[in-house]
Symmetry: C2
Subunit: 456 residues, 2 copies
C-alpha cells in the first residue's frame, strides 16, 4: 500500500515535471534562437555569396560547400555529402517580344524550367488568348494550329491560403505545352503563378509528355499579362519567342548535404529535418528554399548550444534538386533503404521564411492525435494549426515509399507567391524574426517528438 502510494506520487511528480520541462525547454529553444540564432546570417551568406543555384550548376556546387561548412559550424557530430545525380537544364539567352501597339517591344518574361527553346532562333507567330482550359477546349482547331497559345489563367486571390491558389493554377504551367502541341500550336505563353501586384515573371517546372512535340513555354508577369489580354481583345497580336533553353540528356553528379546529432538512447532511430538547397536560376532562392536550409541547420545549432542531447539521432538534410526532379529526395530514400535505417519522422520547411502558424501532419490519425495533445505548448509562440495535411516534396519519397510520418512547417502564406521563382526572391524579402521563429517551431516540434515519441 505504502509503496503503491509512493509510486503514485513519484509518477505524478514525474508527469508534472515533464509538462513543466516541456514548456521550459520550449522557452529555452525560443530564447536561444531569437537571441543567438545564426540562421539569418547563414541565409545572407548563401544568398549573397552563392545566389541562385540551379541543380547541376557551379553555383549549386558552391551551395553544397556552404551547407557543409554551416553544418560543421553548427556543431553537428557528423557531416557528409550524399551523392545524387541531377538533371542539368540551361536557360541560355532568351527574350519575348510582343507587338502590342504596332511595334515589337521586349517584355519581362522567363522560360519555364525544363522547357526546350527555339534553338536561339526567333519564332514569330500570332497569339491566340484563352482565359482557361474550358475556353481553350471550345476553340476550333484552326485558331490553334501554328499559333502561340496564351493561357491567361489568373491566380485565385480569393483563396485565403495562397498554396490553394497555387494548387489551383499550377497545371497551366506544368501541362499547357502538351495540350497545345496536341492541336498543332507552335508555342505557349502563360500568365505567371503569381499573387504579385507587379510584373515579375515566375519560372517553375513544366514537363513534356513523351508523345508530343516539345514547344517552348514562357511566363509573363501580371501587368504584362493584363496588357497582352487587353490587346488580344482588341485585335491581332503577334509575338517573337527566342529561347536558348535546353535540357541535357545525361544526369550530372551533385550532393545532398547531411549533418547529424547522434541520439543518446536510440541512436539508430532517425528524425530528419530539411529543406532544399537548389533553387531556380533567378533571384537568390531566399524564401525558396534557402530559408528552410538555414532553419534546419539552426535546429542542430540550437540543440548543441543548449546542451540538449536528443534520444534519437537528428539529421538536418539539405536536399538537392527539389525544383526540377526531386532526385535528392529519392536518393535519400534509396540510401535509407540500402542502410536499413529506421526513420521515425521527417520534417520539411519549404513554404518560405515567414511567420509560422502551424505544422502540417501527414501521418496516421493516432500520431496526429498524439501530437495534438501538446498543441497548447506552441500557442505562446503563435503556432496553432495542426489540422492540415502538409509535408514536403523532398521528404515525400521517404513518406510515400518509406512509410515515414511526415510534417511540414506552415508559415503565413500571404507573401510567398509574390516572390516564388522570381528575380525578387532575395534575402531582403526575408525578415529575421520571422525566419528565426520558424526555426523555433521546428526545433520545438522535434524536441517534442524526441521526448514523447510517436505511436507506431
Amino acid at each position: 500500500m505504502k509503496s503503491t502510494f509512493i509510486l503514485a506520487i513519484a509518477l505524478a511528480t514525474t508527469s508534472l515535471c515533464y509538462g513543466q520541462n516541456d514548456s521550459i525547454m520550449f522557452r529555452n529553444i525560443s530564447d536561444e534562437i531569437m537571441l543567438h540564432g545564426t540562421c539569418y546570417e547563414n541565409l545572407r551568406v548563401l544568398c549573397k555569396t552563392v545566389g541562385h543555384r540551379l541543380s547541376g550548376t557551379p553555383a549549386a556546387a558552391k551551395a553544397v560547400a556552404w551547407g557543409e561548412k554551416a553544418m560543421i559550424e553548427a556543431g553537428a557530430d557528423n557531416v557528409w555529402l550524399q551523392p545524387v545525380n541531377v538533371p542539368k537544364w540551361t536557360r541560355g539567352k532568351e527574350s519575348l517580344q510582343l507587338k502590342l501597339n504596332g511595334k515589337y517591344k521586349k517584355v519581362p518574361a522567363l522560360s519555364l524550367g525544363n522547357s526546350e527553346g527555339t534553338n536561339g532562333k526567333p519564332l514569330e507567330r500570332e497569339i491566340v488568348a484563352v482565359n482557361d482550359y474550358d475556353e481553350y477546349a471550345a476553340l476550333p482547331d484552326k485558331y490553334v494550329a501554328g499559333k502561340i497559345v496564351f493561357f491567361n489563367y489568373r491566380f485565385r486571390q480569393d483563396f485565403i491560403n495562397s498554396f490553394d491558389g497555387y494548387g489551383n493554377a499550377v497545371k497551366y504551367r506544368w501541362n499547357s505545352p502538351n495540350i497545345a502541341a496536341k492541336r498543332g500550336a507552335a508555342g505557349v505563353i502563360i500568365r505567371s503563378m503569381s499573387t504579385g501586384e507587379d510584373d515579375f515573371p515566375h519560372t517553375g517546372s513544366m514537363h513534356y509528355d513523351s508523345s508530343v512535340k516539345k514547344l517552348p513555354e514562357m511566363a509573363i508577369g501580371n501587368k504584362t499579362a493584363d496588357a497582352l489580354a487587353a490587346a488580344c481583345k482588341k485585335g491581332r497580336v503577334t509575338a517573337i519567342i527566342t529561347s536558348g533553353c535546353h535540357m541535357e540528356e545525361d544526369l550530372v553528379p551533385s550532393f545532398n548535404v547531411i549533418g547529424e546529432i547522434k541520439g543518446t538512447e536510440e541512436p539508430e532511430r532517425i528524425i530528419t529535418v530539411g529543406g532544399h538547397l537548389d533553387s531556380w536560376d533567378v533571384g537568390e532562392g531566399a524564401h525558396d528554399d534557402g530559408a528552410g536550409c538555414a532553419q534546419s541547420i539552426e535546429v542542430l545549432r540550437a540543440f548543441k548550444a543548449l546542451g540538449y542531447r536528443p534520444r534519437y539521432t537528428i539529421r538536418a538534410v539539405l536536399f538537392m534538386n527539389e525544383e526540377n526532379g526531386n532526385k535528392g529526395g529519392w536518393a535519400y530514400l534509396d540510401s535509407a533503404k540500402a542502410n536499413h535505417e529506421k526513420h521515425i519522422l521527417a520534417m520539411e520547411s519549404d513554404a518560405g521564411g515567414f511567420s509560422p502558424r502551424g505544422i502540417g501532419l501527414e501521418m496516421p490519425e493516432v500520431c496526429k492525435r498524439h501530437i495534438r495533445k501538446y498543441a497548447h505548448l506552441f500557442l505562446p509562440y503563435n503556432v496553432y494549426d495542426f489540422e492540415k495535411e502538409e509535408g514536403g516534396v523532398d521528404i515525400s519519397p521517404l513518406h510515400i515509399k518509406g512509410d515515414v510520418p511526415a510534417a511540414g512547417l506552415i508559415p503565413d502564406s500571404q507573401r510567398y507567391f509574390d516572390y516564388h521563382h522570381t528575380a525578387n526572391d532575395v534575402f531582403e524579402q526575408v525578415n529575421h524574426r520571422e525566419l528565426k521563429l520558424g526555426a523555433v517551431t521546428m526545433a520545438q516540434f522535434i524536441y517534442l517528438i524526441c521526448q514523447h515519441g510517436l505511436p507506431k
Copy 2:
C-alpha cells in the same frame, strides 16, 4: 403539441440558417475585399501623393482631403470633418555627430517627437553610456552632470509578440530626458525602439515633466548604437547634437474625418471602426497607420458593395493626432457626449497592415464570452486569437471615459518594429494581401456584432 413542434422546427431552422448565413456572409466579405478591395490602392495614393503627415502640417491637411474623398468614393451615406485642435511640433534642421575614431562623423539620427532642440546651435559634450536604468542609478552624479547620457537599452528580441518588447523598452524614449535632467545632464541619446537588423533611427513621442529642464533627445539606429557602445567601452567619446526642434505653444486647427453608413433598425446606435490619419514626419506612415485608415474605409466600401444594410450605424473614423497628443480621440469622445450618442463598440486597427491573427477585446467578460462563441467562423481566415486585451489609442477615451467596449485588430507583429516611426515605413513594405485580409477580419467582426449584438 403540434404547434410547439412546428415552432421548435422553425427555431432550429432559423438557428441553422443564421449559422449558415454568417459563414456565407463571412465568405462574401472575404471575396469582395480580396478580389475587389480598394484599400491597397487607397493606401498607395495616401503614401505617394501625401506622404508623411504630422499633426498641424500642410501634409496633414492634404491627408484630411484624401480621407474625405476616399470615404465618399467608398459610398458612405454621410461624410464630415470633425474639428480637432492639435499640437504643432517642428523638427527643423538637426544632426548628430559622433567622434568615434578621433574625428567627428554625422550619423543617422532622429530627434524624438515633442522634444526641444538646441536652438540650432551645436551642443558638444562627452557621452556617458549606460545599458539600462539600473546602471544609470548606480552612476555617481559627477559622471552625469554636464554629459550627454546614452541609454543603450536593447529591444528584447526574445519576446514573441513584439509589442511586448516595445512596452518593455518604450520608457527609455518617453522619460529619459526627465531622469537625465534631474541629475544635471546636458542631453540624451537613446538606442531606438527597434527590432531592425539595420541602422534606421526610430522617432516617437517623448514628454517633459513640468519641473525639469528640457533636454534634447535623439535616437540612433541599432548599428550606430552598437558602434557607439563599443567606442564608449574603449574610452572617451564626445558628441555634437544640433537640433532645431521646437513645440509651438498654441494648438492649431485640424480634423477627424468621419464617414458612416446609417443603420437600418437602430440607427441611433453606433459602431466605430478607425485608425489614425496623422503620422510621424518621416517615411510615409504606411503601416502606422495609413493601413488602419485604408482598412476602415474598406469596411464601409465592402458593406456598400455587398448591399449589406447593417442594423446599427457604422462609422469609419480617421483620427487626427494619435502620435503626439491623441487630441482626435478626445475630440471624438467630447462630440459623442455632447450629442448624447449611443456607442456600442469601437474597433481600431493600429498595429500595421500585416496578416491578421486575432482581435483583442477590452470589454466585460460577458461580452468576450459572447464573441468567442463565434470564434470558429474566423478560423478559415487564419484568425484564431480572441484572448488578448487590446484596443487602440484613438478609441481609448471612448473606452475608458465613455465605457464603450473596445476591440483591436491583432496582425502578426514580427515586422512592425522594423518600420515603426522610421523613414522605412513606406508603401512598399505593405503587402496587398496582408492589408486586405486585415480589412476582411474587421468587416467580418463588425458584421458579426451587427447580427448578434453585444450583451449589455
